[in-house]
Each structure stands twice: as structure tokens, then as C-alpha cells.
Symmetry: C2
Subunit: 410 residues, 2 copies
């Protein structure tokens, strides 16, 4: 019998009506003769409300107690969904993380799943029940409740699918799938039928927020077929799987972007072996995430290094650099705000060295100035002025034939 | 080192401010050099809100899933209290029912505690932590979450106190203790310094809603000293303990009462051995709780039986009796609404046969007609017209010297 794991996010279970709707979706699958395990997040904004209460009580609530607090959110939504299924005549049982055998590291707030003892889930499936599992939570060796951090419910679903050897893990969300680029920005954006794990990983890391990178990585490692689809619309979504079934000649699969980027340049650093390491260790020790990094040696005894950061942490970044000026021995700093990152992603570009060149060509033709570049095997990222971001996306979307008008079988 | 178990009800932890206040109370005790275990209920009306959601989803939510749902309420309040204590600089840890080792029957919604494996609580106490435990919940043999039903948090506190051999179990509530009668009704009502388990049991069963009878019974069986006191006022409350320390000559300890009583009389039943049993088995099989029962044989082949019920179930009671008229073989039924029950309670009356006589005498002098009587070893209950209830309580309160003016050392 086919086994499907379905995951519904907070918006999908955000109200009594939404929960009833999810129950209907679950029943549809069950009536096709499939075994169904459902993973749910907390209802709508309920996690935020719980965290607000914690912040009202304590300046820095302990992570252990925060886990105790927020893990109640999924317990509420899962029991309500079980009741909804029962009310519609379907046997169902809800399980907390610890009841479902989800073992995690002994870390609070951001634990990783170590193992799943799926005996209890299997026992309920064997009696024909629909099993509902709390996302986002597990239990440590010391029987402490631990939460998985951001994207945790997706990861729970994938881990359960891997442990049960499920045929598919369906991630229900408020969009109908993964698009070539954000359809709110480019009207011709096209929903992809399928995408590889690596491509999805790059897109997820580049800010296409449909799936958390962690869950995609997990799915890749355990070869779990994912499907991203809408909890409201009935149309099929986007499969994420190994690329066997895909067309090799589709060089670029999608375009990701994010704005609110600032470029910081540190001028006149000593041109020594340890300079790069010293600078980025200092930033990392102070919890500053940098994205693209460029180094220019200028032929003298000094070097200039540029990097991009989220504009929200610009002031803090400048403060940290000033504080460590004597250790780092630089001459001065400059920064440029109001930038955006535009990236093309596609596993086809590994064997097509001309893809990056084509990207720069397209942007040049569109009169769009590239301020920084970064490449990986399956993506090329550029930093451009925010005012030119949408124009850049549109040019690239058309040039790489991603438009809905040019249907490509994938 | 002395060990104190404290229990705070839903009103006491009903808001962030209230939780901060509870933290202060807990710290006061801890600073006296005592080990403290705190049992908490869910915040204010949160349990009712969860049940409302369940009822919105399902006509008859499964008890198993209801337990999953409502047990989150205590988990929220306990983790917030732990955070409040930590914020004030005191090490603290919260434990769910299953983490605290509270083993219950395999029943949902109304489980009894079977055993407490207190190793985890003891481990935390040994490191100097204040331990907070979710009231009202435990875990069954099959690792299912089970709730304890009404008064469950009181019972949790008493059971933990028994299992840890605590020096005292303090029940914090919105009144300052147990009174000779309801101070809202009789202005001279006096707070009792101490009362015996049996007296408290009778008062609790008679509607003095400070403590659930189940928790008093549990305390009696395990000889746990209880203290009922206010979570706001600092004054000491009422101790509930074995009666060694009490004055034997205080015949009557308090007066309990409830209105909304109806007397039902079934006329012309066959005067047979099985009549009583048949009638009350029929009522009990239909979940009708009767209180006082009186049988009059009239010398013929028939007998009349009267009983009292809560007025809210009068119509249902009449329906059930009509439905079984042919089996029960009675002639007709009559009922009298608008009645109240007034009871005197005191373990001193066991050795004072004249107490009941004095009660009837006092009521007769006050021109109050007694419609039904029921006695036990330590209480006498009378049914009177609701219009005369307060006057009855006042006469008795004065006659048995319960007034605050007449200070009695107990």
C-alpha cells in the first residue's frame, strides 16, 4: 500500500475552517487507498503569541523553557485535526514529537533529528488509522522536549517520510509550487513541474522561501521525493527529486532574488596570508553573516576586500569593524546601500560554461550594471542596484526561456 | 530540609502579572530555606477556550484527543512560571505530567493517579532548583496523555506531596481559607484555623467549593497536611489535618448550603424488597445523581419514596421516570421546586447525639420548616424552602457559636 506523508504549515491550519479543509484534503488521499501520516505546524500566529508572552515575562527566556512553551502550539493543531477527521468518520490519532519517537540532539531551540523510532506510528497505520504528528519537535536522550528551529515542520515531515520509506512527502503551503521566479514580480513566471534537490537548495538558500534548505538537504540525503503544492488549490505542485527524469538541456531552472543588500568595502588591508581569515573570523565571531565576498589585490603591500551583508545589520557591522581596526590594520571603510541580489539557478549550467557569460551579456544589454559576482556549480549571483532588480529579473527570465509562453517539458 | 508543595489555580496564574506574583510567593518560601515543588493549573479561561475550539470542530470530540488538547494549558503556564523565576534569579525547571512521572489509569478525561515515579523531581530538587509540575495530567501505561478531571490539579499537588513525603501541601486560591460558612452570605462567618479531613470532605461534598473532595480524600489516605490560603493576601490559611490538635468540644465546625434543589416524590410503588433498588438503579443507569432519599411505608401494599435532585435535571428525571413507569409500577409522581439544602458539619457531633435535635430546635424556633433530613456521622443536612435558606444559616451559625465574635481556639 502506498504511504504518503503530508505536511501542512501554520497558515493551512490557521483557523477551525482551515483545519476542516485540511481534513478534507487528507481524506481525499486516504480514500485513494493510501496510508497517510500528516505533520502539522502550530495554528497561524500562535507560536508568535506564545513567544510574546515569554518576552513579556523574561528579557531572555531560557531556551529549555521556551521549547516547553512553544511545543504546545503543534499539540493544539494536531489534536484539533484528529478531531476533525474523527468527526468526518475517519479513525485518526495524534502524536506529540516524543510519542512519535522523534529523537533529537540535546539542544534547545535548534535541535537536529537524530533518529525516528517509528514503531508507534507504524502500529497505528497497521490498524488503518490516519496518524497526525506534531511538527517542529522531538525528544532528547534525557527526555527533554526540544524544538527543531526554523523550517522544523518541513524537516519533521521529510524525516518521517525517510524513516517510513514513504512513497512521497507532500509539503502543503500557500503557493501552488516552485516557480521560475516570484510570480508576484514577473507575471510570466511559470510553475515548474519538477526540480532537482540541488537546484531547490540553491533557490531556497537564495530566498525563495517555499521550503527550508534543511528539509531539502534531508530529502536529498535520504532520497525522499518531495512535492510542494497548495493546501487550497487542487492542481498538482512541483516535484523535487533526483534529476534522472529531467531534461539536461534546460540550463537555467529559475531566478531567485532578494533586496536590502549592502556592499561593504574594507580598503588598505595588509596583503598577508592571514588577512582574509582574520577579517571574516572577526565578523563571524560577532554573528555577522556575510554573503558574497570579493578580494582585489592592488599590486602594493595592501589589499581591498568587499563583502555584502543584509542592510539591517550595516550599522552593527560598521561598529564591529571600527572596534577591531587596530587588529585588522585597514585604512578605511566604505559602503554602498540600496543593492539587490539576482541569481540564476540550474543544474544544467555545470556542463555549460557559457551560462554566466550569457547572464552578464543579457544584463549589459539591459543597461544593468553588475556590482559583484559570485558563482557556484549550479548558480550565478549578481549584485545590482535595487532600482534595476525587477528589470534584471525580467530580462533574464525571458533570455533563458523561462516564460510560461515558451512551454518546456521538464 | 523542609519540603513544601504549593498549588496555584487558574485564577492565580491568569495573566503575566499574576504569574509574576506567584513567582514572588514561591521565592518567599524558597528563601526560607525550603525545597519547593509548585503545581500549576492552566491560565484563567484557557482550558475553556481550548474546549470551545474542540466543540467548534466536533459534536463529540474523542476524549483521547481532548486530553491531548487541554493538557497544553498547564504546559503553557508552567513554562511561563519557570521563566518568571529564572528572570528573578532563581533556578527553576518545569515538568509535564509524563516528565514528572505521574502515572495514571488508562482512562481519558477522568483518570486517577496510580503512582508517582518522583526520581526526576528529586533529581532537580537535589541541585537546588524550584520544580514546577503541570497539574491535572499524567501518563498511562501506553504512554498516552491522560487528564485527571475536575479538581485534578489539587489532586496532583496532594499526590506529589504524598510521594515526596512533603511537610505540607499548600493550596493557593482566591479565598483566604475555609470559613464556618460562606462569608458572602453570613457577615460573621469566621475563617477556621484548622479542620479535619472528614469535616473538609463533608463541606466539600456539600458545595463549599474550596477543595475538590477527591484531593481531600487523597490527603486523608496519605496523611498529607493541607493548607488552603490566598494567592494574594499574605495571612495564613486553614490547615486540614488529622484532628489530634483540635478541640473535641467544638461540635459543629461549619455550615454548608446549596440552593437549586428539587424534591421528587414517587407515590404508590409496590412495597417489595426490590423496589428501592429498582428505582435508584434506573435513575443511576440514566446518569441521574440523587442526593437525599426518604422512604415512607404507608401500611398498605404500596410505598412512597422521595428524593432530591438538582433542579436543572428535573425535567430529564421526570422523562426517565415516565419512560420506565410500567417497570417501576408506581401510581403517580409529584415534585416540589425552589428548595435548598442547609447542612451542619463537625466531627464533634459523633459523640453528641443531641446535635441534630438542637439543629431542628433552632430551625423550629426560627419558624423554618424542614422538608427532608439526612444524617451522617459528622453532618446533618436539611432541605428547606429557598426563601428561608439564609435565615436558616444565620440562626444555626449563631446557635452553634460559629460567629467571629465568639472566638474559639481550634
Amino acid at each position: 500500500m502506498a504511504l504518503i506523508v503530508q505536511k501542512y504549515g501554520g497558515t493551512s491550519v490557521g483557523s477551525i475552517e482551515r483545519i476542516q479543509n485540511v481534513a478534507e484534503r487528507v481524506i481525499e488521499t486516504y480514500k485513494q487507498g493510501k496510508e497517510v501520516v500528516v505533520v502539522v505546524s502550530a495554528m497561524g500566529k500562535s507560536t508568535d503569541q506564545l513567544i510574546q508572552m515569554a518576552n513579556d515575562i523574561s528579557e531572555q527566556p531560557s531556551k529549555r523553557e521556551l521549547d516547553m512553551l512553544v511545543s504546545t502550539g503543534e499539540q493544539v493543531s494536531m489534536s484539533l485535526l484528529a478531531m476533525a477527521l474523527q468527526q468526518k468518520g475517519y479513525e485518526s490519532v495524534s502524536l506529540t514529537g516524543w510519542q512519535a519517537g522523534i529523537k533529537t540532539e540535546s539542544v534547545h531551540g535548534n535541535a537536529r533529528i537524530l533518529d525516528i523510532d517509528s514503531r508507534r506510528i507504524n502500529g497505528h497505520l497497521a490498524t488503518g488509522k490516519i496518524v497526525i504528528v506534531a511538527g517542529f519537535q522531538g525528544i532528547t536522550e534525557n527526555e527533554e522536549i526540544a524544538t527543531l528551529g526554523r523550517g522544523g515542520s518541513d524537516t519533521t515531515a521529510v524525516a518521517i517520510a525517510a524513516s517510513l520509506n514513504a512513497d512521497k512527502c507532500e509539503i502543503y503551503t500557500d503557493v501552488t509550487g516552485v516557480f521560475t521566479t516570484d510570480p508576484r514580480v514577473v507575471k510570466d513566471a511559470r510553475k515548474l513541474e519538477a526540480i532537482s534537490y540541488d537546484e531547490m537548495l540553491e533557490l531556497a538558500n537564495l530566498g525563495a522561501g517555499v521550503l527550508h534548505p534543511r528539509s531539502v538537504e534531508f530529502a536529498k540525503n535520504y532520497n525522499v521525493t518531495l512535492e510542494v503544492r497548495s493546501s487550497i488549490e487542487k492542481e498538482s505542485g512541483t516535484r523535487i527529486e533526483e534529476e534522472v527524469a529531467m531534461e539536461g538541456n534546460l540550463m537555467v531552472r529559475g531566478i531567485a532574488f532578494e533586496d536590502n543588500v549592502t556592499k561593504v568595502t574594507v580598503y588598505g588591508l595588509p596583503d598577508e596570508m592571514s588577512t582574509l581569515s582574520k577579517l571574516f573570523t572577526t565578523l563571524s565571531d560577532n554573528q555577522i553573516n556575510v554573503d558574497i565576498i570579493i578580494q582585489n589585490t592592488n599590486g602594493n603591500q595592501t589589499t581591498d576586500i568587499s563583502f555584502s551583508v543584509d542592510s539591517d545589520i550595516l550599522q552593527y557591522t560598521m561598529d564591529v569593524l571600527s572596534k577591531f581596526k587596530s587588529e585588522l590594520r585597514y585604512e578605511h571603510i566604505a559602503y554602498e546601500e540600496g543593492l539587490s541580489k539576482v541569481s540564476i539557478v540550474g543544474s544544467g549550467m555545470i556542463s555549460n560554461p557559457g551560462v554566466a557569460a550569457k547572464m552578464f551579456d543579457v544584463l549589459a544589454e539591459g543597461q544593468i550594471k553588475v556590482k559583484m559576482v559570485s558563482t557556484s556549480e549550479i548558480k550565478v549571483s549578481t549584485i545590482v542596484d535595487s532600482g534595476e532588480m525587477i528589470s534584471a529579473i525580467e530580462c533574464l527570465h525571458e533570455a533563458f526561456e523561462l516564460d510560461a509562453r515558451q512551454a518546456v517539458t521538464v
